[in-house]
């Protein structure tokens, strides 16, 4: 941190909050709130005279509230920049600090929050993680039993700059504990709180155990664990060292901690799984290795940055394997535990990677985007004719569409990721997607259903998940019906109702509407738009009397080749169960309905026409200045 502050090309904005992020990759406009410190940074020399003079004491959050701090304070001795700060919630306005500061005149009670706007090229989000509060786990008695402490409290206790100058003491009587237990997986790997593994707690327990053992070799330390996870380089050897040092590892998750109310001694009852027997041990002190959880304001940050969150609340990366550092929004990157629980080596590696990903943007004049971007046909957009609409703007997961009533909607090309959600939703077919125009997709549908359409299963697959699932079914040699005809679009959001009507008009036997699972969607909320539409279509087809099973919605990930094969085979079985005469009669009966619905499509162009349209769109794009 000190090095970063000294580097002339790095500006550290401490005590500053991000209020708003607008714009797009290379051209972000970021609004910052620089909070008032009531101490002028250009004058304060960090002498601490104000803190010495201040009569107000409040709990020090940085010390896990184990020690007090003054209302004039710095959070820790290595604070960067070394400028004192007056906590206005605690200040009693005695102005003793002003007198203590004297001729420096650094304290200024008239300071106010400053709003700053900055032009930013790329953003790296490194907001870290929060700590699970074990109070709701009443079985462990945190908050009730003074000698049950959390890992972070232990961290401050054994830190030489901490509240006790590195002396580990029992909170109940300030004695040095001789028997200490560490409990792992407190609030993690627990479906009642956080189902995930917090990643670093095993190593953290071993580290703390070894550290305490080094300080007091006579200390008896036991670690309760479900599994010890030491997957990285040198970790297993570290675990070996801990056992060599005499630290005991007990496999078994404690069910309960009880306390002797007089001596505040603690008793842990757990099954020792390797013994197959329930054991109870007495301890002076217990440390709970609590789960890592997202920051309390992670939801707020996610809406400010317009980046999605994975289940559990962490920021969601673009792709868990191939793009683990990028956010779904171009130009925003993640470093460290804000994206998921991570230990120090992994966070440092991700930080370096994020910096190099960001510098790629800062050092280039142009930015390549997917070629499948959306384009508005201004002559068809009803907004240009003065009608209120704005459906496309609401659907877009990236905020890439500018809609103002009275002006035809416009796509901010640099922000568009090409999911085609707006194209699928636009009721006037006024938006099209390059390389997936209605004409192009319709041409494919027509070709796929050219021969014996009633025997075909037309499968709409999204590029990222269900197409991958079908691919995997093939490469894994999972057999599925040869009557399946797959059609790829970028996202289930692009699966326009018109395309499905057209497929039924042509007499398709069955239609599969498939895409990613909601949490896997590569276009943030594209799947949500797709799923809503599918539910609407399902209802409508049921009303129209389409045999159940002829339209099916399934969310299939790229890893679910077996599911893809199973779904197709089930659909084939459903189709086989309908007698051919009845099926043909049903198709004939529905044709006029479908034709009626398709009149909404301004025109259903043929293949030749499709090519002309593509040329038109490409020319449109060329004539527009598309630059960053």
């Amino acid at each position: 941190m000190v090095d970063a502050a000294r580097q002339p090309l790095i500006e550290v904005k401490a005590y500053t909050e991000v209020e708003k992020v607008e714009g797009f990759v290379g051209n972000f406009k970021v609004t910052l709130r620089e909070k008032a410190k009531y101490v002028r940074a250009d004058r304060c020399n960090g002498c601490a005279a104000c803190a010495k003079a201040c009569p107000v004491e409040v709990p020090n959050y940085f010390e896990m509230n184990l020690a007090p701090r003054k209302a004039a304070y710095i959070p820790m001795s290595q604070s960067v920049p070394l400028v004192y700060n007056i906590d206005m919630d605690a200040c009693i306005h005695c102005y003793k600090c002003v007198d203590a500061c004297g001729a420096l005149e650094a304290i200024d009670f008239s300071m106010e929050d400053k709003i700053i706007e900055e032009d930013i090229g790329a953003i790296v989000v490194a907001t870290g993680f929060g700590h699970f509060d074990p109070t709701p786990m009443t079985e462990y008695g945190y908050g009730r039993f003074p000698n049950v402490i959390t890992a972070m409290e232990m961290e401050r206790l054994n830190n030489s700059a901490g509240a006790t100058h590195g002396m580990v003491i029992r909170p109940s009587d300030n004695q040095r504990p001789q028997k200490l237990a560490i409990i792992n997986c407190v609030g993690s790997r627990d479906k009642r709180y956080n189902p995930y593994c917090s990643n670093f707690c095993c190593m953290y327990a071993i580290k703390n155990a070894l550290l305490l053992k080094q300080m007091n070799p006579n200390m008896d330390i036991s670690v309760y664990y479900i599994d010890i996870r030491t997957p990285s380089k040198g970790y297993e050897e570290f675990y070996d060292r801990a056992r060599e040092a005499g630290i005991k590892f007990i496999q078994g998750r404690p069910a309960e901690i009880t306390e002797d109310p007089n001596s505040h001694q603690l008793f842990i009852k757990s099954e020792d799984i390797t013994l197959g027997r329930v054991v109870e041990h007495e301890y002076d002190m217990v440390m709970l290795n609590q789960a890592a959880v997202p920051q309390p304001d992670q939801d707020h940050m996610s809406s400010v940055l317009n980046v999605a969150q994975s289940p559990g609340g962490w920021f969601m990366e673009y792709h868990p394997k191939l793009r683990p550092i990028d956010s779904p929004t171009d130009g925003i990157f993640f470093a460290g535990a804000c994206q998921g629980p991570k230990d120090i080596p992994a966070s440092v590696a991700q930080g370096s990677a994020a910096a190099s990903r960001a510098s790629r943007i800062l050092h280039s004049d142009s930015w390549q985007i997917e070629p499948t971007v959306a384009v508005v046909w201004p002559d068809r957009c009803v907004s240009g004719k003065g009608q209120a609409c704005g459906i496309c703007e609401k659907t877009c997961p990236y905020g890439a569409i500018d809609y103002t009533k009275g002006i035809s909607a416009e796509v901010i090309t640099a922000k568009c990721h090409g999911c085609g959600g707006c194209v699928g939703e636009c009721p006037h077919d006024a938006i099209t997607q390059l390389h997936y125009t209605d004409a192009e997709v319709l041409a494919q549908i027509r070709t796929l259903l050219a021969v014996e359409p009633e025997k075909k299963i037309l499968a709409f697959r999204c590029q990222w998940c269900s197409y991958g699932g079908a691919d995997l079914a093939g490469t894994s040699h999972f057999e599925y019906s040869a009557n399946e005809r797959g059609l790829r679009v970028m996202c289930s959001a692009r699966m326009d109702a018109d395309l499905i009507y057209e497929a039924y008009r042509l007499g398709a036997g069955a239609i599969l509407y498939s895409g990613c699972h909601p949490q896997d969607c590569h276009y943030i909320t594209g799947q949500v738009a797709g799923a809503k539409r599918a539910a609407r279509l399902e209802k409508m087809f049921a009303r129209l009397g389409i045999s159940p099973g002829r339209f099916r919605t399934e969310w299939i990930s790229a890893a679910e080749g077996d599911k893809y094969a199973r779904v197709i085979n089930e659909m084939q079985a459903t189709l086989d169960a309908i007698p051919e005469i009845e099926l043909k009669a049903e198709i004939e009966r529905l044709k006029p309905e479908m034709v009626k619905k398709l009149t909404k499509l301004n025109e259903v162009p043929g293949v030749e026409e499709a090519m002309i349209q593509v040329d038109f769109i490409v020319n449109e794009m060329k004539s527009k200045a598309v630059s960053l």
């Binding site: 997986c185 790997r189 479906k191 009642r192 479900i226 078994g252 998750r253 757990s270 799984i273 329930v278």
Partner: protein, 194 residues
């Protein structure tokens, strides 16, 4: 040593409602250390081990395990389980399969004296395990009549029904009938008096 295996056992247990999450167990032992029966009654009692036996299809071992027969379904373990497995439901499922194969509950259960039962339904209403139902049954010398009937799989031999019965028609089969209790009570009183 190879334990006898019924390759379908885990699937059969899983198919019984409540036991669906059987395979989610990662053997943390919270249930065992939470269990009152383990603490107070039977040190060898171990729900974690029973789940493991079930997962690995050791049917015979599961059926003879004391865990199967001693669980009172108090559900102390259920809210403590980090995988949200309804452990008592798994145990009940194992028990159910054991009965389907004609096994008997090795522990004592309440028995109805059908010759004197008047089907008043008192026992049915007091049973905390809903183990007693009134059924229509052919009873020797009494013909087709309604009598109380005890579900062996559910009965925990608590004796509530025995205490409630006004015609002494439902009894615990071994040590805890009225005469035994009265006998020990008299014995105790006499020894106190002496």
């Amino acid at each position: 040593m190879n334990l006898p295996v019924n390759t379908n056992f885990a699937e059969q247990v899983k198919a019984i409602p409540g036991a669906e999450k059987l395979m989610m167990c990662f053997s943390c032992g919270t249930c065992t250390s939470k269990c009152m029966i383990q603490e107070k009654l039977e040190p060898n009692y171990n729900p974690r081990r029973l789940i493991r036996e079930t997962v690995f299809n050791f049917e015979e071992t599961a059926f003879t395990d004391e865990t199967t027969w001693l669980c009172t379904a108090c559900d102390l373990c259920y809210p403590a389980c980090p995988q949200k497995i309804h452990i008592s439901a798994v145990i009940t499922a194992v028990k159910q399969l054991a009965f389907e194969q004609g096994r008997q509950n090795p522990n004592q259960t309440a028995k109805v004296v059908e010759a004197t039962c008047v089907a008043c339904g008192l026992c049915e209403s007091v049973c905390p395990y809903q183990a007693i139902k009134l059924v229509e049954k052919k009873v020797p010398f009494r013909g087709m009549i309604t009598v109380a009937s005890v579900d062996q799989g559910k009965c925990m031999a608590c004796g509530m029904c025995t205490a409630a019965c006004r015609s002494d028609s439902i009894r615990l089969n071994q040590d805890f009938n009225d005469n035994e209790i009265l006998g020990s009570l008299w014995g105790w009183l006499e020894s106190e008096a002496a």
